[in-house]
């Protein structure tokens, strides 16, 4: 037995050593500096206070009320062109709110924490808004933001940390939406920095929106909430797109031609406010606007595009630039491969690999290696959505590396010694014709073509349809729909990176392009509030759903309508270009150099609407 005095000494040593060791570390077990903010608990029920912008956030803003929003020319023209009747279009009826608007919307909110059940460290803060059931997840565990080619959502992807007395949140990957409910646009390139500060039962939310497409400078808004003691038990906001406007043409997208929005002047007259203020812009939110408004007269020229040089896209590049092929799981056994200058879709399974498009071919070997990480089965089928080089560039390499075991040992193989040697390439007949004309190698040509509307196959437990879209981008475009996975590969009919490449010389038309985009929308089903559900892989750009296609379709229709109106009035091509019919979309899709400029797009539309 140890003597009592020894035990006492041992206790003392334990205490001293314990104090020494523990005192050298932070009480949270983290490095002692810098001391992070302790944070605060956001949990509970919160109601928005509508003492600011009450009409905007309640009944709705008036048309032409963009004052204080630092929108640029493109944003102003987009808003002026906006007709609220657009919301009656089937695919807009359930549009949700984007995060910066959602935080200012009507309706209550609920916040709660998600903690690790063992360590109790904070993983995420959830914020649920009653209106449109907007659910935000603010990740607090230090995870990175997704890559540029990942999907966007109404709420975006948010990460947070406590700084000082605030919860600071960074948000990316937002969908296109609005800053005000009168069409003042928010682009899918917008990013947010937010600060939540709590003063007792009052919560003040500050958001700084940076939007290179539609804002001249960051937009700052602040919104108040007060804490509710109890659950009001009214959280749902159901929506379906059941409203129908009978007889409306599928290519009817309500909009106003530049300078012809009748309600803007009405607003200006009603409140005696000059256009230079109420049509927004960074200057409209500065104190000097008070004296400017007092001196300014009516200036309707702001309702039309300026004579400035066309703007170019301010969108962040989506394509990786590290020379590697990147894989993004899409759904089930379907994957997106990016990095070879054109999106590639890969379906894997026990029957073999099914590939939609093969990229430019510049990195075909790496594409093949990426496929090998997903499946050890041979590439059995390649579907080309078009003959264009960014769709077919890797055909030869991928075909040679594959095999179509389904035709070996058949009568077919008795006729052709090489039957099943290499992957089978499927495409519309016009793709084969175009590639033949381009003298592409035999191994790059489709070997299984179709002439009518649809080519179908059941592969890897999924029904796959190729749907010909006549005279869209070219005369041989197809959509590929994986029906079980519910993923649609669109080829270049839809991209998130540029105006549609309407290749008039090879059969493309704007009318066919609009029909093709509507065909995509005929097949999509959103999961909730207009997002999710059917996933859409564009030819270039980020993984999308129907909302991105709808906005893109709207853009093509609206530009078509403007150019058609100008053409019908007798405008020459040069006059049409000078009128800048794409002025509200150029900061998103425009280009003045490269293979597909805004002028080329305008010319393609002009030429086809005059037929």
């Amino acid at each position: 037995m140890i003597p009592h005095t020894t035990r006492t000494r041992r206790h003392a040593v334990t205490v001293v050593v314990g104090l020494f060791v523990l005192a050298t570390i932070d009480v949270r077990g983290q490095a002692p500096t810098p001391a992070p903010s302790p944070g605060f608990d956001l949990s509970g029920y919160w109601s928005p206070v509508l003492h600011e912008d009450g009409m905007d956030r309640g009944a709705g803003p008036e048309i032409g009320d963009y004052g204080g929003i630092p929108i640029n020319e493109a944003g102003r023209l987009f808003a002026l062109s906006y007709d609220p009747s657009r919301l009656t279009l089937r695919h807009h009826q359930c549009d949700g709110y984007v995060a910066p608007y959602q935080m200012r919307a009507l309706g209550n909110a609920r916040a709660w924490e998600e903690r690790d059940p063992k360590t109790h460290r904070l993983i995420a803060i959830h914020w649920f808004s009653q209106t449109f059931e907007g659910k935000r997840t603010i990740w607090m565990d230090g995870r990175p933001h997704p890559p540029a080619y990942a999907p966007h959502s109404w709420m975006g992807f948010s990460t947070g940390r406590f700084v000082g007395n605030a919860l600071e949140v960074q948000t990316t990957h937002l969908k296109q939406g609005w800053y005000r409910r009168n069409g003042t646009p928010e682009s899918d390139q917008a990013t947010l920095v937010e600060f939540f500060v709590r003063h007792g039962d009052r919560l003040t939310h500050t958001v700084v929106v940076t939007d290179p497409v539609y804002l001249e400078e960051p937009l700052v808004t602040t919104t108040d909430f007060y804490r509710q003691p109890t659950d009001h038990q009214n959280w749902l906001f159901p929506c379906d797109d059941g409203e129908q406007v009978l007889g409306r043409a599928p290519d009817d997208v309500p909009s106003y031609l530049f300078g012809q929005n009748p309600f803007v002047k009405e607003y200006r007259t009603k409140y005696k406010l000059a256009a230079v203020g109420h049509l927004g812009g960074a200057a409209s939110g500065q104190p000097e606007i008070v004296s400017t408004l007092a001196a300014a007269g009516d200036d309707p020229s702001l309702e039309r595009p300026s004579r400035n040089a066309p703007a170019t896209s301010k969108a962040a590049p989506v394509e990786p630039t590290d020379g590697n092929i990147h894989i993004l799981p899409v759904r089930g056994n379907v994957y997106l491969l990016v990095g070879d200058e054109g999106n590639i879709v890969v379906q894997v399974g026990s029957e073999g690999v099914f590939v939609v498009d093969t990229g430019s071919g510049a990195r075909a070997a790496k594409t093949l290696a990426a496929i090998r990480t997903l499946s050890d089965k041979p590439v059995q089928f390649i579907a080309n959505t078009s003959f264009l080089p960014d769709r077919t560039g890797g055909n030869e390499v991928l075909r040679k590396a594959g095999a179509d075991l389904s035709v070996r040992g058949t009568f077919f193989s008795l006729q052709f010694r090489d039957a099943g040697v290499g992957a089978t390439i499927m495409a519309h007949q016009n793709v084969q014709n175009r590639l033949n004309a381009a003298k592409r190698p035999a191994d790059a040509l489709p070997t299984d073509t179709f002439l009518e509307e649809r080519r179908r196959t059941f592969h890897n437990d999924d029904a796959i349809e190729m749907l010909w879209q006549p005279n869209a981008v070219t005369d041989g475009d197809s959509l590929v729909h994986f029906r079980r996975a519910d993923v649609i590969a669109t080829g270049n009919i839809f991209t998130t990176t540029q105006y549609p490449f309407i290749d008039v010389a090879h059969g493309g038309t704007v009318e066919g392009e609009i029909k093709a985009l509507n065909q995509i929308l005929e097949r999509t089903v959103f999961e909730h509030q207009g997002q999710g559900g059917t996933l859409v892989v564009p030819g270039h750009g980020y993984l999308s759903d129907e909302h991105e296609v709808v906005e893109y379709r709207d853009m093509v229709v609206i530009v078509r309508d403007r150019i058609r109106a100008l053409a019908q009035s007798g405008a020459t091509l040069e006059q049409v270009k000078a009128a800048r019919p794409t002025a509200d979309y150029d900061t998103r899709y425009g280009a003045t150099t490269g293979p597909w400029t805004t002028d080329m797009f305008v010319e393609a539309v002009y030429r086809t609407v005059r037929r």
Binding site: T14, V15, G18, L19, L22, A23, I25, D26, V27, R28, P32, T33, A35, P36, S37, P38, F40, V49, H51, E52, D53, G54, M55, D65, G67, G68, I69, P70, V163, G164, N165, A166, V193, F195, V197, R198, H199, R202, T204, T206, V208, L219, V220, T221, T222, T223, D224, Y226, Y271, K272, L273, G277, H278, S284, G285, Q286, P287, I289, V290, L293
Partner: protein, 264 residues
């Protein structure tokens, strides 16, 4: 091991648990030092020039709205009656052009602020709109002659205080460290009656206005000042009137242009 040994070990462990946060805190700067002056104790720097960003209630702030247009303000019947009786000519005749530039309205007007420490216990906010000066005093509630800006009592509202943590747990308790963050809280009473908006939306001399000033630093060196305001007025408001108003930090006095009050 006897019960007394167990008890001693438990006691020793308890001492460790109690003292660790204290020691840890001491390593980060020791026990709370002797009280500093409010100026030295400031958790955030509000001084300098700030310009208002009028992105909300734009129509009501950049121009004088029509009489009777008090959308969003929770006026009670007496408040509506007073707003409907607004007569700027009468205010001018009475020399009361500054009604909208009082503490209840001046922060919402487009303009710039100049925030400076007058002394270690007094912060002042000058506004170029209406050429007003707000005096925010730390310490006991000030008294004095009632004017447009009233008597403002200031205090630092630190997160650790808001958390209600005690000294025993290092000012923060387990899992709660010191912050370095905080807000300026200002409570103002005793002001002359004025206007919440330029078109005569009223507040009375009985109103109590509580404000929180928060500073947020942004990447690139920009900073925002957000003033969250609550107006409680049993005379004219049916419920507290809440607004939050934001300003952007300026490097210098660019744009500073003091202007007189106007009633219209």
């Amino acid at each position: 091991m006897t019960r007394s040994h167990v008890a001693r070990r438990v006691a020793a462990s308890a001492i460790v648990l109690v003292l660790v946060p204290v020691v840890a805190r001491a390593q980060r700067g020791g026990f709370p030092p002797a009280p500093q002056s409010p100026r030295l104790a400031a958790p955030i720097d509000l001084t300098g020039y700030w310009v208002s960003l009028v992105t909300e209630d734009w129509r009501y702030r950049v121009a004088t709205p029509p009489k009777g247009d008090y959308n969003s303000v929770p006026l009670n019947p007496a408040g509506r009656k007073a707003a409907d009786a607004w007569d700027p000519a009468r205010d001018e005749a009475a020399g009361e052009q500054c009604k909208a530039y009082g503490v209840g309205g001046v922060m919402r007007l487009p303009g710039r602020l100049h925030v400076v420490w007058l002394d270690d216990r007094t912060l002042t906010i000058e506004t170029d709109a209406g050429t007003q000066v707000r005096t925010l005093r730390f310490g006991p509630a000030p008294t004095g002659v009632s004017d447009w800006q009233g008597n403002s009592q200031a205090s630092w509202d630190r997160m650790e205080g808001a958390m209600g943590a005690g000294l025993l747990f290092g000012g923060g308790g387990f899992g709660v460290g010191n912050t370095g963050g905080g807000s300026l809280k200002v409570v103002t009473k005793g002001m002359k009656p004025g206007h919440l908006r330029k078109n005569g939306v009223p507040y009375s001399a009985d109103a109590v206005i509580t404000e929180y000033f928060d500073r947020f630093d942004l990447a690139g060196g920009d900073a925002l000042l957000v003033v969250s305001t609550e107006v409680v007025d049993p005379t004219y408001l049916a419920q507290p009137f809440w607004t939050s108003t934001h300003f952007k930090k300026q490097r210098d006095a660019t744009g500073w242009k003091p202007t007189p009050c106007t009633a219209r």
